[in-house]
């Protein structure tokens, strides 16, 4: 499969990049690591006239400590996150999630910004042009029907990034820049829950960094990922758990899911577990139930939805107990 022709821009500064982006909004795609964009372009999911390669922009790289917390530049690779001592000590759940992304080779290229902005996935969507044509296309691309929920008009393509559930648990924020403005929003407000329009990013905007607040530092946590293979695979279901304890009491619990909804989602109603000395089996079971109810898996990927929901239940329990133990 060939790549369609496009104009490649490789700006060296962020202002240059944003200028390009605003001038060509609508006909441009942004390339950070390229591990998702390029295969998708070959499948003709995107046929942009321009590709904006951010990789020359140094200011988008690196992990820095600031007054507000730890800032991770959007171009920081998943490999760098995986091996950051700072993150490992203060935000271990993020490191654990980053470690599970795809394969070592992909993590050398793939970036945290790319993982946050990752296009939603569906077996009826991530296919070649010839394949999609043979089933009459779908809502997310070129068509008007959904094959996953026949009769529906909502796109259920699943968000399948590994790091966002961990970032949600850590109350992360993202910085979004445009030629004319900078804004900062909680990551949980970044996703729409719609498979075909999954993120709140306006034309001309770019995610420039993700910020982990100091208040989330020291959360113990765990990430459990359902995959058929021990490497390469996207998550078929994923659970991140982060727990903060002080003086033996549980001060905060956050649980977030991925790959079972069109957005990564936080599980609600966990306050009942707070201020206890610990989490026992039955409490963990209960948390698992809450998570399973939050999950809305559909036939967007391998393994049945029923199974993936069950695994959310089991993995939530396991991750919670592991987080408490750690």
């Amino acid at each position: 499969m060939s790549l369609s022709d496009f104009r490649l821009s490789r700006p060296r500064t962020l202002p240059d990049a944003l200028k390009h982006l605003s001038e060509r909004a609508g006909s441009i795609r942004v390339l950070a690591g390229g591990t998702d964009l390029l295969p998708s372009m070959r499948q003709k999911l995107f046929e942009p006239e321009h590709v904006l390669d951010l990789r020359q922009i140094k200011e988008l790289r690196g992990i820095h400590e600031t007054e507000q917390g730890i800032e991770i530049g959007a171009l920081t690779t998943l490999h760098e996150i995986e091996h950051s001592q700072l993150l490992r000590q203060q935000y271990p759940v993020l490191v654990e999630a980053a470690k599970t992304v795809a394969s070592p080779l992909i993590r050398n290229m793939g970036t945290i910004g790319g993982n946050i902005c990752l296009d939603t996935r569906c077996l009826w969507y991530n296919q070649s042009l010839a394949w999609r044509k043979s089933c009459g296309f779908c809502i997310k691309k070129d068509g008007n029907l959904c094959h996953v929920a026949p009769g529906g008009t909502k796109c259920w393509a699943a968000f399948s990034g590994d790091t966002p559930p961990a970032l949600l648990c850590l109350n992360a924020e993202v910085e979004i820049v445009a030629a004319s403005a900078i804004r900062r929003i909680p990551l949980r407000d970044f996703y729409t829950g719609e498979g075909d329009d999954y993120r709140r990013l306006r034309p001309g905007e770019l995610v420039s960094k993700v910020i982990l607040p100091h208040s989330s530092s020291g959360y113990r946590g765990a990430y459990r990922k359902l995959r058929v293979r021990g490497s390469i695979d996207y998550p078929l279901a994923g659970v991140a758990v982060a727990v903060k304890r002080s003086n033996g009491h549980i001060e905060d619990i956050q649980i977030a899911l991925t790959a079972v909804n069109p957005a990564p989602v936080l599980v609600k109603g966990l306050n009942i577990f707070l201020n206890n000395g610990g989490i026992d089996e039955s409490a963990a079971d209960h948390a698992g139930e809450l998570a399973a109810r939050t999950a809305k898996p559909l036939t967007t990927s391998a393994l049945t939805p029923e199974y993936r929901r069950e695994i959310i239940r089991v993995f939530t329990k396991r991750a919670l107990l592991a987080a408490i133990e750690s």
């Binding site: 499969m1 060939s2 790549l3 369609s4 022709d5 394969s103 077996l123 296919q127 070649s128 010839a130 394949w131 044509k133 043979s134 089933c135 009459g136 296309f137 691309k141 070129d142 068509g143 008007n144 029907l145 959904c146 094959h147 026949p150 359902l226 058929v228 293979r229 021990g230 490497s231 390469i232 695979d233 996207y234 036939t299 391998a302 393994l303 049945t304 029923e306 199974y307 069950e310 695994i311 089991v314 993995f315």
Partner: protein, 876 residues
């Protein structure tokens, strides 16, 4: 005991360096001046009549040189003489999503792809068949008009009296097993480059040369001749390096013909390389198989009868299907002593890509069912599962009830070895909860005794030429596809001739240069091409020996060829020349060997100088002539002997061929030609697994695999083949499965079709068992396929040992395992949709076991928005 100098030693593959450095050339690495890129338009419909193809817009696109369609090459072909049902490009009908409709040859790939969008095809949709059991009921809209009820072929074999056998049995087990569809997933996608020479006399396209990723250059030459209506002598097929075949390149794949048809029309070289998706559509993998199996045993575990009804979901074309369905029945025999067998096999057509030959051709899925059922019977009878296998061994040599001749039979030793190494007796049934051991056996042919082309020609022929420089060139049609064919050929030639491996050059798989060999499939190369090489080398050796015996004034039988020298066995040592002896040349013997061993750095003052070292061959031989008056030698260097032989005989060439002996060719019953082999390999395996009872995830920790390969010509290559077989079997057992929806393959890529990664690959302890076959070259048999089939049931039986569930459907995905665990515990059933319950799959489902898509799927819908209506869909 004979000792060998070349065989039996772990030797690096002769083509390893090019593959590991990247210098090696595969077909897609090749390029010719003026070469065009070919791209194929595939059918978007599973079953449709082509009413009209309008390629005029595509032809006008700048950069497009030619567009070819079915009528450009309408002759039907197929790998089997009974199955000539394919066309290079569809002539009247398309039979699966992905069927080949047209091909564009253009200056570059992007242009060719754009041109495909401009071809307008008008289809008349036909009802399509996806489920073989439904397909068998079809009365109209048949997939091929000459195949009633869409049954490609059915066979009904009865050997002995199975009903009586069942009546005499103390226990009978009966169950339905389903093995879902898998494909080869070779690393190299298929690729073909075709070019026509201009005939110097007529100025028209003359001879055709094709470079292709094929396991069978000769068959490709034959089918090209058929479709292009050219004599085979005008077609040259060359096989460059091939990046894995596993059966997927063992027949003529559409692109191989299409590229030649396009090159003829474009009058330019055309290369087509499949995308991974196209590889999945070309397929020819292992068909999804329903097996209704019934086995009767006595209380002591002895089998009295086996009845099997097998339905294979063959896809839209015959391919190797008739052979596949026969193998499934025939190789019920030749592993154990089974006195009575009834076999009913149905190869059924459906509107999906054609299935064909895949590693362990036809035997693997039935072996999964059989070995699982034997394990169930062992549990019922409270007999150890290794022991029940021992109680049903053949008494080789023998001829089985279905006419298969078994000579060497290393299965008992294989079982002993894996039981011993896995510490089976101490550990079986005593591992912690959730962890278990399972055993299973398998076997495979060392080449089919009857070739598919119904000809009396030898199955393999090998030529050897030796020149005065002492370089040995072996010409063989056998196809190196990564399995070690070239290395095996070089080793056998070097061993027979007693020369070093570095002297031997293998020229392989080029139909202009190499004699006919029917290719690399059914694990035939070591046995058949190996025997032909051995005979060719013996023929040359005889000529060398005749000359050498005169020189040494001794009988032929006294000569020993070894370590680049020819010696009298009563000379320096008695036929057993070690390196020490070599380093001390016998009195009067020229010191060539030492010179050679020192890299040709020769003292020019030496009175005896070999022709090669001096670069003056004539002078060398003259010197030898002069020395004839000297006292008889006791030793000659290999080169010296070669030069002597050429002086005596003229050219030094030899040829050898191999045809299986008549007594190995099987019974006379209809279909009895498939299954017989001159020798069978044997395998026994123990798998150790653990099962997560909350998630159903299975981890394979270790597999002990003992394989009887007759003799290991190159032990490291044998181990590699065994490990690869186990790994591929594990893929089919746990993760690999082609998933369909309305004839659409849902996972046509290596991201969603999940072959195991290195992370979950277990340790495999490969144990070589050598039964020394009486007819194999140096006693060797096959080692590349037989081990695969045991892995799947070994894992299934280990899962049973670990958590007590019996899985009847592969692959054992976590959802199937979890569903079975729930069913066993009578726990709240996991609503995994009908049929996923692996304890009783009663219906055959289009979607694969996982049944990701419940109920009736979305209608195909047309006239979608956003993108201009596709030309293909505009007419409905």
């Amino acid at each position: 005991m004979t000792t060998f100098s070349i065989i039996g030693k772990p030797i690096a593959m002769v083509d390893a360096a090019g593959k590991t450095t990247g210098a090696g050339k595969y077909t897609d690495d090749l390029s010719l001046p003026g070469m065009l890129t070919g791209k194929i338009l595939h059918s978007p419909h599973p079953h449709a009549r082509i009413k009209r193809i309008d390629a005029s817009r595509a032809e006008k696109l700048d950069g497009v040189v030619a567009v070819v369609v079915g009528s450009d090459a309408p002759n039907p072909y197929g790998i089997l003489p009974v199955g000539h049902d394919e066309h290079a490009l569809a002539v009247d009908k398309v039979r699966y999503v992905g069927d080949n409709v047209a091909c564009v040859a253009a200056e570059d790939e992007a242009t060719a792809e754009r041109a495909l969008e401009l071809i307008n095809v008008e289809y008349e949709l036909l009802p399509a068949y996806f489920d073989p059991e439904e397909s068998m009921k079809a009365e109209r809209d048949l997939i091929h008009d000459n195949k009633p009820h869409n049954v490609e072929k059915d066979y009904h074999h009865v050997f002995g009296d199975p009903d009586k056998g069942l009546a005499e049995a103390d226990h009978i087990e009966e169950a339905r097993f389903i093995a879902n569809e898998v494909t080869h997933a070779a690393m190299e996608p298929h690729s073909t480059l075709a070019t026509f020479d201009i005939d110097s006399q007529t100025g028209k396209p003359g001879r055709l040369t094709v470079w292709s990723s094929t396991q069978v250059p000769y068959y490709l030459q034959h089918k090209l001749s058929l479709v292009l209506e050219m004599p085979m002598s005008q077609i040259r097929v060359i096989k460059p390096l091939v990046g894995g075949g596993f059966g997927g390149k063992s027949e003529v794949i559409p692109l191989e013909i299409i590229s030649a048809v396009a090159a003829r029309k474009a009058q330019r070289p055309v290369k087509i390389t499949y995308t991974r998706e196209e590889v999945f559509w070309a397929h020819r993998g292992r068909p999804r198989t329903i097996i209704d199996l019934k086995t009767g045993v006595k209380n002591d575990g002895r089998i009295t009868a086996v009845k099997a009804r097998v339905v294979q979901d063959g896809g839209g074309y015959c391919s190797y299907g008739v052979v596949t369905i026969l193998y499934s029945g025939a190789l019920l025999g030749a592993l154990y002593d089974i006195p009575t067998i009834q076999y009913d096999g149905f190869r059924v057509l459906t509107n999906k890509p054609a299935c064909g030959a895949m590693r362990g051709h036809g035997t693997v899925n039935v072996r999964f069912a059989f070995e699982s059922q034997l394990d169930e019977l062992a549990a019922k009878l409270n007999i150890d599962s290794a022991e029940i296998r021992r109680r049903n061994l053949l008494q080789a040599p023998c001829i089985t009830v279905n006419g298969l001749r078994v000579q060497s039979y290393g299965l008992p030793e294989c079982i002993d070895k894996v039981v011993d190494r896995s510490r089976w007796k101490e550990r079986k049934g005593k591992l912690p909860r959730g962890r278990g051991l399972g055993v299973a056996c398998s076997h495979y042919v060392s080449g089919a005794a009857n070739s598919i082309i119904r000809s009396d020609m030898p199955h393999s022929t090998v030529n050897i030429k030796i020149d005065r420089d002492g370089g040995v060139v072996v010409y063989t049609g056998a196809s190196e596809i990564g399995q070690g064919s070239d290395t095996m050929t070089a080793q056998i030639a070097a061993e027979v001739l007693g020369c070093s491996l570095g002297r031997v050059k293998v020229v392989a798989a080029d139909t202009d240069l190499t004699p006919i060999d029917i290719g690399s499939y059914s694990s035939r190369v070591t046995f058949m091409a190996g025997n032909a090489t051995l005979r060719a080398a013996e023929a040359v050796k005889k000529q060398i020996a005749a000359a050498a015996s005169k020189k040494m004034n001794c009988d032929l039988v006294d000569l020993v060829f070894r370590d680049d020298a020819v010696r009298r066995s009563n000379g320096i040592s008695t036929g057993h020349v070690g390196t020490d002896a070599l380093a001390r040349p016998a009195e009067g013997a020229p010191s060539f060997s030492r010179s050679l061993r020192e890299g040709g750095d020769v003292d020019s003052s030496s009175p005896t100088v070999s022709g090669r070292v001096e670069g003056q061959i004539l002078r060398g031989s003259l010197q030898q002539k002069r020395k004839e008056d000297d006292a008889p030698k006791t030793s000659m260097s290999f080169e010296e002997a070669v030069v002597a032989a050429i002086d005596f005989h003229g050219a030094l060439t030899g040829t050898g061929s191999y045809a299986p002996p008549p007594e190995a060719r099987g019974g006379k019953h209809k279909g009895g030609g498939v299954g017989p082999s001159p020798a069978y390999s044997y395998s026994a395996q123990v798998a150790e697994v653990s099962v997560d009872e909350d998630t159903g995830e299975v981890t394979v920790h270790k597999v002990w695999a003992a394989h009887d390969c007759g003799r290991a010509l190159n032990p490291v290559a044998v181990e590699g083949q065994v490990i690869g077989s186990v790994w591929m079997g594990m893929g089919q057992a746990l993760t690999e499965e082609m998933i369909w929806k309305d004839g659409l393959l849902m996972n046509p890529g290596l991201l969603e079709y999940r072959s195991p990664s290195s992370v979950e690959s277990p340790e495999v302890e490969a144990i070589i068992v050598e039964s020394i076959d009486p007819e194999g070259p140096f006693g060797a048999k096959e080692c590349s396929e037989g081990a695969l089939a045991a892995t799947i049931p070994a894992i299934a039986n280990a899962i049973y040992d670990a958590v007590g569930i019996r899985l009847h459907e592969s692959p054992f995905t976590p959802e199937r395992v979890l569903a079975a665990l729930r069913a066993k515990k009578n726990a709240k059933p996991l609503n995994l949709t009908e049929g996923v319950d692996p304890t009783s799959p009663t219906t055959f489902r289009e979607h694969g076991g996982a049944l990701w898509f419940k109920g009736k799927g979305p209608e195909r819908h047309e006239g979608s928005v956003g993108r201009a209506p596709s030309p293909a869909s505009g007419e409905q």
